[in-house]
Every structure is written in C-alpha cells, then in structure tokens.
C-alpha cells in the first residue's frame, strides 16, 4: 500500500482552525447551558404544576351517586326501590382527537347502544359548552349484558368509553300510584340553574314529579366520589378508589296504604267501566281520593288513566314515552296519563258542593234548616232580566222540603232559590257563599305535598269584572249566584279539594292539610325531622247548621229517596255522602261539548268518621250511577266488608 499524501504530510492545525475549534466549544457550552436552564425551569421551578397536570391527565374523578331512598307505604311495604344496573359512560376528553376516528367511534357506539348519534353528540356538546370535559356523558343507563360484554371485548375500539355500576328505580307494583310517586330523571338545565346552590350537579338524577320531586332532598342522599387511573386512550388502568363515600338517601314512609291504593285504582276502573257500560263513551278517566278526615293523611290517591313509571327508569326513549302517552304529542290521544287528576284535574263539583251553599245560607240566616222551601221542576229568578229557566234534575217533582231532605234528594230548585237569595243580599253583606268556599279551601292550594296542584276557581263579582271584557259578561247576574249554589257555572275544584271539604263536614268543621308523607327514616332506621303538617284549623261553622248538613248527607245514603241509597242503603257500615253530576264543556280530540262529570263524596262511619272518599268519573254521567259504586268499593276495602247494590240507581 503506497503511503498516501495525507499521511505523508504531517498535519498541524493552523491557528485559524484552533480558533474555530474554540468557537465550536463555546457554542457547545452555550447550547448545553440553554438545555440545562430549560430543564431547571421545567423540573425544578415549575415541577409541581406539571405533576398536577400529569395527575389531571391520568386521574378521572367519578361522582358516585348515592343510592336513592326507598318509598314505603304506611305499613312499610316498599313501593319504589332500587335495582342494580350498568350504565355506559363517555369521557369527552378521552375521545380520539382526529375527527374521522372520533366520528367512527361515536357512530359505532350509537349503533351498539341503540342510542341516536345526535343524542350522544348533544351530550358531548353540552359538556363542551359548559367547558367541562371531565364529567362523563351518560350514553345509556341500564345497558344490557350483551352491550357490556361487547364493550369489554372491544375496549380498544372505544377509547373514552367506560361502564359504571348504578342503581335505577324499580317499581314492584308497576303503575300503582304512578302520579303520586312520580319519577326520576336527569336534572335539566333550568332545574340546575335554580338548584345548583343546593349541591345539584350536571348529570344528577332528580325527582321530576310526585313525591320523588317534593321530597327529593330527603331521597337523594349525598353523592360520593371515586378516582380511577386511566391511560392515554381513556381505558381504566386501576380499580376505583373511593375518595368520599356516598351517603344513601333517606326512606320516605307515605300515608298511602298499599291495599287501599290498589282498591281505589280498581274501584276507579270499575266506575269507568260502569260509565262505559251506560254508553258514556267519553268516560276514560277519573280520580279517587281517600283520606283520614281527622288529620288529612291520604290513604289512597288514584288517577286514571295512568302509566308505568318504569319507562323513566334506565334508558329512556322517546318511542317508549310516546307509546305510554307521556310526550306532549301523544298525551291527548292517551288522555294525558301523567296528569294527577286528584290534585290537578279541574271540574265543576255540581251537587257535591251543595253543603257549602247550605252552610253559607244558614250562616247568613237566608235559610232555616228545618223550614220548608218548595222543590219544583223548574225555577226562574224574578230578578233575572233574561228570564232564564233553570231545571231540576227530576222535572216531575213538586214538594216542599227541609234542608236535609233537599240535600238527600239533591233538589236543585231548592238550592236555586237559595242561590237567588244570595244574589239579593245587600252589597254590605259581601259574598258570603264565596267567602265560605274560600274558608273551605276552594280556589287555593290545599298544601298537599304532591304537586303540581291546581288551585281551581271560585267565581266572584270582582273576578267577573277582571276576567271579561264584554260589558254584559262583566256583570254578576242572578244566574251566576244560582249556578254557584249548585256547584255549576264557573266554579272549578279538584277532587282533593272536595275530599278536604267532606273531611271538614265529617270532623266537625276542621280544615285539614291533606298530605301523603308519614315520616322520613334514615337508612339506619332513625327518624329524620321534617316540617310538621299544619294542624287542622276550625272553619267556624255553627254546629247546629253542620248537624243539619250531616243529616242530609246521611239521609242521602239511607232514605229510599236519597241519591245514593241504592249503593249505600244496605252498606254494612254507616256511610254518609252526596252525589254530584256536573256539566262541563269538554274538549276531546275531535269532540267539543257538554259532558256530565260524575261525583260522589262522603265519609264513614257516620258517628266516628275514619275515612273520606271522593270519587270522580270524567264524563261518566250521573254521580249516583258510577261514582257512588266506585266510592263504595273503596269503603268496602277499608272496612273489609262486602256490599251489594239495590236495584236501579236513583240518579242525580
């Protein structure tokens, strides 16, 4: 190998090259100084900040919903319990960053869970809008086993999706007392705005109606929290570590009696079927209230039609809600099953209101209980310039009656005359009938703890002036007083308000506050203090006057001409009560016209009342025909007796 030129010439670097080597050396030092300073700044100066960021990266805090309290009947039988379920959660922060893969994942998830993609997207959008990417979106509550199994097996295809053990509401008696119990659903934005101060958070479940709503603060308990480790793909890498234990909610004990509630719902169906058998095609709903006249505790509250609240438990779909008549679109066809007719159905009370008229008339000395007034086939007021003729339900009667007889027979013309007397009262007497109606709680909320409650309407001279624009309509006319006297015209009441009236008639004139809550019990059985129910308050009725009315109600069920004698005449327990048949303009799909609302309200035993029952069959015809037998069924269940109806029913 010949020596090469390079080797042959010994090389010594020039000063210039040496200078350049030192320049490189300095550059090297500067570069390392920069790297080291940056390293110092990141690790030593701001290290804590990045440790927190790393932790936020890899920890997910889950809100552990507390098991909701149970709802029990007065004997401790559970009416609403919890069932374990698995829900599918989605963590928006852990979704793929690339739009196409994210979209593909969400579409696969939508198909798997059969939840519409737009629903999932809306959930994510809501979190984005709230700038909250660490609260998971519940894709589906109560997912089926195959869905969960598929998710486990294909976890890598679903970054950001986890499953979660939860509880869903379980209704062992299905539709029983559905409107009273209410249902639970995810908190809405409007609810959240009003309740966020009380610890409610997005994604929380909250009672949406019934006692679930009115006692939500007792039922919900206190949510806990748990932490889990997840990796960059949102897959859980550790079990859950509880950081705060969830406090289970308290149990509610209601005054509702399961057996009586079942009887009331059956009785309501029975009444509706009776009406339909009588050709009352529009009879498709109604309500029965049964309460204790001494303290106002409600033992049964039935409303028809009804629904099974299970449709709101777990995965809620619009389709299922629609089939149950629970969406605004489908509700009219199903006759609005979510409406609790006992507290928010408004009807004219008809003859069941006559005791109020009688009491007010006696208070004003317009009437002496045992003086006789004519009961005729028709009546027209001498003061009425329109000369309108008001008809008795029985056109062939012509007889003088005292008050108990007029009540028992439910003579309309008798009360028309009394109504006209009210019209003729001098202005300085005010409006005593309306005043007494107010005192019995009409036109206002009863204070019951199951909402939402309708207040109804007691028409007054002032109301007429404010409510109408036409000069003639603005005037209070004799007809208004006459119709009010028999519970017709503009008067509107709820079945609960009527039950409250009959409780006062039964208990000697005390107005009770109807309620369904008995007490609240903590999970370990201790009593939880709740606001006391207001004590019954005296309305201020003359006992003699009340006695005359009570006698009329007893006669109505026990004398052969009484309107519900056929039902209660031979009833083993002494029941007093009044029928009512009220005309109401009814608007149904494809129909607008007058329909008779069938009522019966009463109490028993007559001498020591324990139960008030008020039954209403919507568009059911005569009260004596359908409402009285339905109410009798409830009494029969309560007193554990059997009864039979005597021949054709004497109607009102």
């Amino acid at each position: 190998m010949p020596p090469s030129k390079g080797v042959a010439e010994p090389y010594r670097p020039s000063a210039r090259v040496l200078r350049r080597v030192s320049v490189l050396g300095v550059a090297m030092l500067v570069i390392f100084a920069v790297l080291l300073l940056r390293l110092w700044a990141l690790q030593v100066l701001s290290g804590t900040k990045y440790v927190n960021q790393a932790a936020a990266n890899s920890f997910r805090t889950v809100r552990v919903q507390a098991p909701r309290g149970q709802i029990l009947d007065r004997n401790g039988v559970p009416l609403v319990t919890n069932a374990p379920a698995t829900s599918i959660l989605l963590w928006p922060a852990d979704l793929p960053k690339v739009y196409t893969t994210r979209y593909a994942e969400l579409r696969a998830l939508a198909r798997l869970t059969s939840v519409p993609l737009y629903e999932i997207a809306a959930g994510i959008k809501a979190r984005r809008a709230a700038n909250d990417l660490v609260t998971p979106v519940t894709v589906r509550e109560a997912a089926g086993e195959p869905m969960i199994a598929y998710l486990y097996e294909n976890a890598s295809q679903f970054p950001g999706v986890t499953t979660w053990r939860t509880f869903i509401r379980h209704y062992p008696y299905h539709s029983l007392a559905a409107q009273v119990l209410g249902y639970v659903g995810e908190i809405s934005q409007t609810q959240l705005n009003g309740l966020s101060k009380q610890g409610y958070q997005p994604g929380d479940e909250i009672g949406q109606s019934g006692v679930e709503s009115s006692y939500d603060s007792y039922l919900r308990g206190v949510a806990g929290s748990a932490r889990m480790h997840i990796d960059a793909f949102g897959r859980p890498r550790s079990g859950l570590t509880t950081t705060a234990i969830a406090k289970p909610g308290n149990d509610l004990r209601l005054t509702i009696d399961l057996k009586l509630q079942q009887a009331a719902e059956k009785a309501l169906q029975y009444g509706i079927h009776l009406a339909q058998a009588n050709g009352k095609w529009a009879a498709r709903g109604g309500a029965i209230v049964a309460l204790d006249p001494n303290d106002g505790s409600i033992l049964a509250m039935a409303s028809a039609p009804t629904y099974d609240p299970s449709v709101y438990a777990g995965h809620v779909t619009l389709g299922e809600l629609g089939r149950a008549g629970l969406t605004p679109k489908t509700a009219p066809a199903k006759n609005i099953p979510s409406l609790n007719r006992a507290v928010s159905g408004l009807y004219p009370p008809g003859s069941t209101f006559k005791p109020v008229t009688a009491l007010a008339a006696m208070q004003e000395h317009l009437l002496s209980p045992y003086a006789y007034l004519p009961c005729t086939g028709t009546y027209s007021s001498p003061q009425d310039r329109s000369h309108r003729t008001f008809h008795n339900w029985d056109p062939n009667v012509n007889q003088a009656m005292d008050l108990p007889t007029a009540l028992a027979y439910s003579c309309d013309t008798y009360f028309y005359r009394v109504g006209n007397e009210f019209y003729n009262l001098p202005a300085d007497h005010g409006q005593p009938l309306q005043k007494l109606a107010d005192a019995f709680g009409f036109g206002q909320s009863t204070g019951v703890d199951v909402g939402p409650e309708a207040t109804g309407l007691v028409p007054t001279i002032r109301w007429r002036q404010q409510h109408f624009t036409d000069a003639v309509d603005k005037l209070w006319k004799p007809g208004d007083s006459i119709e009010l006297a028999v519970g017709q015209g503009d008067l509107l009441v709820t079945p609960l308000q009527m039950a409250r009236l009959y409780a006062a008639l039964a208990n000697g004139g005390k107005l009770v506050t109807p309620h369904v809550l008995d007490d609240v019990e903590s999970p370990n059985g201790a009593r939880v203090p709740v606001a006391a129910i207001p004590a019954p308050r005296q309305v201020g009725i003359d006992p003699a006057a009340l006695q005359a009315v009570q006698k009329g109600l007893w006669d109505a069920t026990h004398l052969p001409f009484g309107t519900s004698y056929a039902v209660f005449g031979k009833f083993p327990v002494s029941i007093a009560g009044k029928t009512g048949t009220a005309q109401k303009v009814v608007s149904l799909p494809g129909y607008l016209g007058l329909q008779n609302q069938a009522w019966w309200c009463g109490y028993g035993p007559y001498n020591s009342p324990k139960l008030v029952v008020c039954a209403l069959i919507e568009n059911g015809g005569y009260g004596g025909d359908v409402a009285a037998p339905a109410a009798a069924k409830v009494f029969a269940a309560y007193f554990h007796v059997a009864f039979h109806i005597l021949g054709p029913i004497h109607s009102d």
Binding site: P10, V21, L24, R38, V44, S46, G47, Q53, A54, S58
Partner: protein
C-alpha cells in the same frame, strides 16, 4: 499551513503503522472519551430499561434485551473502527459515497414505511435504517472530497462543489421524508467546511441562504400556495415557537405531553412505576423520539443532568480530537462527527422541552433502535482511531 515531513521515513513508518494497529492504538487511546461513551451507553440502557418497562405486556425487558444486542454489535463496530486507519476512508471516499447514496435510494425500492415515512429496509430480524449509517458515511466521504483538495478548501468552487455533492444524499433523505436527518447531514457538512477553513463570508452567505430557504419554505411558499414540506413537518417546525400556533392538534398534543412529562419529573424523578405520562402512554414515542422526556419524568433533574453532563464530556473530548488529528482529513471528519452529534442532541432534547422544532431524530446512545446505536458507536470508533493516530504521530515527532 501544512508541514512537509519528508519521504525518507515512509518505509519505516509503514512498519510502525502495523505495530500501531494493536499495541500503539491501545497505548494512545483516549480513555476519557471511551469512559464517557461507556457511561453514556450505560445510562442509555438504564433509561431504556425504565422507559420501555411497560411497553410489552408480560415482557418488561423486551426492548432492553434487544438494545443490549445492539450495544454489543455497536461495541464491536467501535473496536473495529478504532483499529482501522481513517486514511483508508479517505482513499475510498468515492465508493463509500456511492454505496451510501445507493443504499439510501434503495429504501425507495424496498423500503419499509412507518409513521408516514419510508426510512427502513427490513432484513427480517432487524429493520435497517441506511440514513443513520449514512450520517457517518456522509462525513467520511465528503471529508475525503475536501481532503483531496487541501489547498483549495475555502475556494468558492470547492465549497459549491461539495455542497452540490452533499445535496444528493440530503435531498434523498429529505424525500423519504426525514427532515430531521437531512438537517443533521447539512449541519455536518457546514461543520466540515467550518473546520476545513472555509472563509467566514462563505459561511455567512450559506447561513443567509439557509435562512432565506427557511423563510421561503415555511412562510413565503405556503403564502403563495407552494408547499415544500408536508403539513405535519410544517406544523412541527413552527409549533415550538408558540404552541397555540400549532395547526395540527396531534403535534400540539405531543409537545404538551412531552413538556408535562419533563416537568413532572421534578428533581428526583417519579420512578418507573409512578411516571404516569410514560406508563399510561400519554407521551407518544417515548422509547424513541421522546425518550428524553420519558427518561426525565422517571429520573428527574438529577438523572437528566447526569445524561447531559455525559454528553458534554463526550462532545468535549471529541472536539479536542479535531486539534489532535494527525491529518487534515481526520480533523474534518472529527469536526463533522462532533457537530452532527451536537446537533442531534440539541434538537432532540430541545424538542422535548419545547425549545427546538419537533423532528424525528433519535437521541444518540439512548433512543431504542439498532441502526442509530450501532452507527453512533461506529462513529465513536472512528473518533478513537483518529485520536490514537494523532497521538502516535505526535509522539513520533
């Protein structure tokens, strides 16, 4: 500039050269540099053992085992390189250059693509990355071109020609696309011109052209609708200036996760088990491109500054070799290798901390990967050979 030693010693020195091959090399070895390299390799293996512990389920040492094999092969390359007279590379620079260009070009024919780039040739048991070995070969070959014209170095013609020659492999690597490695080649080329003695005005002109090119490619080009770079390259290069400018969410994500990982390491590090950024895979590519961030998370400021100190030691000893080199060729080779190494370290480490553009350059001696480890150890062998021969030549004088 160069001293003429006379030809009468030529015959004798051949014998000495033979002797130098074994004993002489050992006698004049740069033991400090060797210790620094050994330390780097050891820290690198330590880093890999922690960083990749959870990468393969059920086999915590999967990558470590492989990396140790690469170290063994690389160590052999280092030993062989130490005993080969660098002058041989100078004599055969043309075949070396040709083979390098061919191999890099071959990638386009049988290449193995990963992450959108074709850089690898699969050999079955090993995926071979020619551009990694190409770094060393590029330096050896272009230094040969310059050493053949020792008196013309600095002439504009020589500079332009060496640039033209170097442009062939650089453009090939750029087209793979592997922007980072192409920039390493360019840095090495500029360093060789610098050490070779090219006048400042040429270097300044080169710098200006590079600046103009950068502005043109990154800003002016896209502004008028001509894109020289792939979208992700563009965004990676500009991203580090200010993260909110990042056009691609992925790039920003990588950078953010990397900075969080480095910072979370704090002084003492979080340990292998608690380093969540790495363990839970928030940090992408934590065995390769982002290995420094992962290592910093696990070992903290203490571990990271130890690694930087070892780099500084090796670079300092390597830079010294430029002035100890026996001949012009060796000096240029040493300069090229040192700057290429420095450039890779700065860009890789700086990238993980958000002070350098994000490019796919492996961290020398640490990143998981055979080609890089073997090529870097071989380059160290060349440096050791240059040092040994420079020392021996000095002793003779």
């Amino acid at each position: 500039m160069l001293e003429y030693a006379g030809s009468q010693h030529a015959g004798r020195r051949t014998d000495r050269e033979e002797g130098l091959a074994i004993v002489g090399v050992l006698r004049s070895l740069d033991w400090v540099l060797l210790a620094g390299i050994a330390g780097l390799v050891a820290v690198g293996l330590w880093a890999v053992s922690g960083v990749t512990r959870f990468a393969v389920v059920g086999n915590p040492s999967y990558y470590l085992d492989r990396q140790m094999v690469y170290v063994a092969v690389g160590g052999a390359a280092l030993v062989v390189g130490t005993f080969i007279d660098p002058d041989i590379y100078r004599r055969y620079w043309k075949p070396i250059f040709g083979a390098t260009v061919l191999l890099i070009a071959f990638v386009f024919v049988v290449g193995h693509a990963a992450r959108g780039s074709t850089r690898w040739i699969s050999l079955g048991f090993f995926t071979f990355q020619p551009s990694e070995f190409g770094k060393l070969a590029f330096v050896l070959a272009l230094a040969g071109f310059l050493a053949d014209r020792p008196r013309d170095v600095g002439a504009l013609g020589t500079t332009l020609r060496v640039l033209g020659l170097g442009a062939i492999p650089v453009l090939l690597v750029f087209a793979q696309p592997d922007l980072g490695t192409a920039l390493v080649y360019l840095a090495a080329l500029v360093a060789m011109l610098f050490v070779g003695g090219a006048p400042w005005r040429q270097l300044v002109a080169l710098g200006s052209i590079a600046l103009l090119l950068a502005v043109g490619v990154l800003w002016a080009g896209p502004a008028v609708g001509v894109n020289f770079l792939k979208g992700y390259q563009q965004s990676r290069l500009t991203c580090f200036v200010h993260p909110s400018y990042c056009s691609s969410a992925d790039t920003r994500y990588n950078l953010e996760q990397s900075i969080v990982a480095v910072g979370a390491g704090q002084v003492k590090g979080r340990g292998v088990n608690n380093a969540t950024q790495t363990r839970l895979q928030f940090l992408p590519e934590h065995g390769t491109d982002f290995v420094f961030a992962s290592y910093s998370e696990q070992r903290g400021f203490i571990g990271a500054s130890l690694l930087l100190a070892l780099y500084l030691l090796v670079l300092w000893r390597a830079l010294r070799i430029v002035s100890i080199a026996r001949d012009f060729y060796s000096a240029i080779v040493a300069g090229g290798i040192v700057v290429a190494l420095l450039f890779q370290i700065f860009v890789n480490v700086g990238m993980t901390m958000g002070i350098a553009p994000i490019t796919g350059i492996p961290l020398p001696f640490v990143s998981v990967g055979g080609s890089s480890m073997i090529a870097n150890l071989a380059a160290m062998g060349v440096l050791l050979a240059i040092y040994a021969r420079g020392r021996a030549a000095r002793r003779r004088r």
